[in-house]
């Protein structure tokens, strides 16, 4: 089967791939492009572990077809750090130990980045509601919220 030819931009790089019409963007990222940062938790848009940003919108890549990325701009966790320089959110997740098993972490980081870009000074409640589409079954969320608050302060000062 020939598949669908897609030209897109991922983390600023022009990327071309062939995918099946029913293949999700998550599967394309992980299985065809080797970008395994986005995780498949539920595959039905409930857990947020596969979160990516498409044309400035936070989405679950498991609910996007690979074919839909044609002409779009996709941002994944792999584009978050600049070389060895971690994004403030990544740094603060480490400092606050805001992860245990780490499966949910890329999704939380992408969702938190999107949140802070739209609302640089969120209240705790806004953070908790803003990240409600991301499930963590280890930490109980508190450390994640603290890390996001701390990162927001650092980013405002920068």
């Amino acid at each position: 089967m020939a598949g669908v030819a897609v030209s897109t931009t991922i983390n600023g790089d022009a990327v071309e791939y062939l995918c099946q019409p029913d293949e999700t963007l998550l599967d394309v990222l992980r299985d065809r492009l080797g970008l395994t940062g986005a995780k498949e938790g539920c595959g039905t848009g409930d857990c947020g572990a596969c979160s990516v940003i498409v044309d400035g919108r936070l989405v679950c890549s498991c609910l996007v077809l690979g074919a839909e990325a044609e002409g779009r701009k996709v941002e994944t966790i792999e584009g978050m750090a600049h070389g060895d320089q971690l994004h403030p959110l990544q740094q603060k997740f480490l400092e606050h130990a805001a992860l245990q098993c780490g499966i949910c972490t890329p999704g939380f980081l992408i969702a938190a980045k999107d949140l802070l870009e739209k609302n640089p000074s969120p209240t705790e409640e806004e953070i908790r509601f803003g990240l409600a589409g991301n499930l963590c079954r280890c930490t109980g969320y508190d450390k994640i919220v603290r890390a996001v608050q701390d990162a927001a302060n650092v980013m405002k000062g920068a």
Binding site: V4, D22, G48
Partner: protein, 286 residues
């Protein structure tokens, strides 16, 4: 399976009309991809409607608002004019799913998925919203409550696509509101819900009223009698009592693990009262 992204509504309609096997329309995909993954639908053709001109836009016209079928719910929440005119519709649309889902899901998809518990549908029905349907024999405009015919079923014929939802321009002293009951704070499906849309006269008495209930019957319930009982009142306690009684009586809910029939009946009345009170305040009533 074939994936296509037509540039015109005519092409999309044409492809759907001549499709031999099961075909699906893709806008946000937040229901479609889940159903495909679960094996509930195996389309041979997917028609992505997002590249069709105008379908991704909200336009304000002399008559009101035209919300394209591919507009994500998050964009509704970011549109100040729409939020000001129809706060109940927007709050209902913004209750659907997480931030991630909001970036994709659409009110047209919510309507066509035809879940009895769809959040935006009671608010749209109360608002008197209409759906513009494009099909092989041209276009027609129908009331949104005429779209769902049962859980997962719609009145749309083969080849038909809803291309936009229309909301009227608001007169002065108008307000709407939507409330749902869920056992959590968010990320849940309505156990029962209510949308209320009111306009007031200069003295603050209710001039027109529409009340719709969700998850209370196989399809959205537009309770005309509930609207009528509000007309002429200023939402005094006796009127609110009657409103609740009518709404509870109109329910034909199911009994399931999320709520019993008795619970849904009772809460439908309470939510209608509260939504009416909020809509009344938003309309400037005191």
């Amino acid at each position: 399976m074939r994936y296509i992204r037509p540039l015109s509504i005519e092409d999309a309609v044409g492809e759907l009309a001549k499709a031999v096997g099961p075909a699906a329309i893709l806008a946000g995909g937040s229901d479609l991809l889940v159903r495909m993954k679960g094996g509930f639908i195996e389309p041979e053709l997917i028609v992505d409607i997002k590249a069709i001109g105008g379908l991704a836009d909200i336009t304000e016209t002399a008559d009101g608002f035209r919300i394209g079928a591919a507009v994500p719910c998050a964009v509704l929440g970011e549109n100040k004019a729409l939020r000001k005119a129809w706060p109940g519709v927007v709050e209902a649309a913004n209750l659907i799913g997480s931030k991630q889902v909001q970036g994709r899901c659409t009110i047209t998809g919510n309507l066509c998925n035809a879940s009895p518990a769809a959040d935006s549908v009671p608010a749209l029905a109360a608002a008197g919203a209409r759906a513009v349907v494009a099909g092989p024999s041209g276009k027609r405009t129908i009331a949104v409550e005429a779209v769902p015919t049962g859980p997962g079923r719609t009145s749309l014929a083969k080849g038909e696509i809803i291309e936009a939802i229309l909301l009227d321009k608001r007169p002065d002293h108008a307000g709407d509101a939507y409330l749902r009951f869920i056992p959590r704070t968010e990320m849940d499906i309505a156990v029962v819900s209510a949308g209320v849309n009111l306009t007031l006269d200069e003295k603050g008495a209710i001039k027109t009223a529409r009340v719709a209930l969700g998850a209370a019957a196989p399809t959205v319930l537009l309770v005309e009698e509930a609207g009528q009982v509000l007309v002429g009142s200023k939402l005094d306690e006796a009127t609110l009592e009657r409103l609740a009684k009518i709404c509870s009586g109109a329910c034909r809910p199911i009994d399931d693990k999320r709520g019993t029939i008795e619970f849904r009946r009772k809460v439908a009345g309470v939510l209608a009262q509260r939504a009416a009170t909020t809509a009344y305040k938003r309309a400037g009533g005191k």
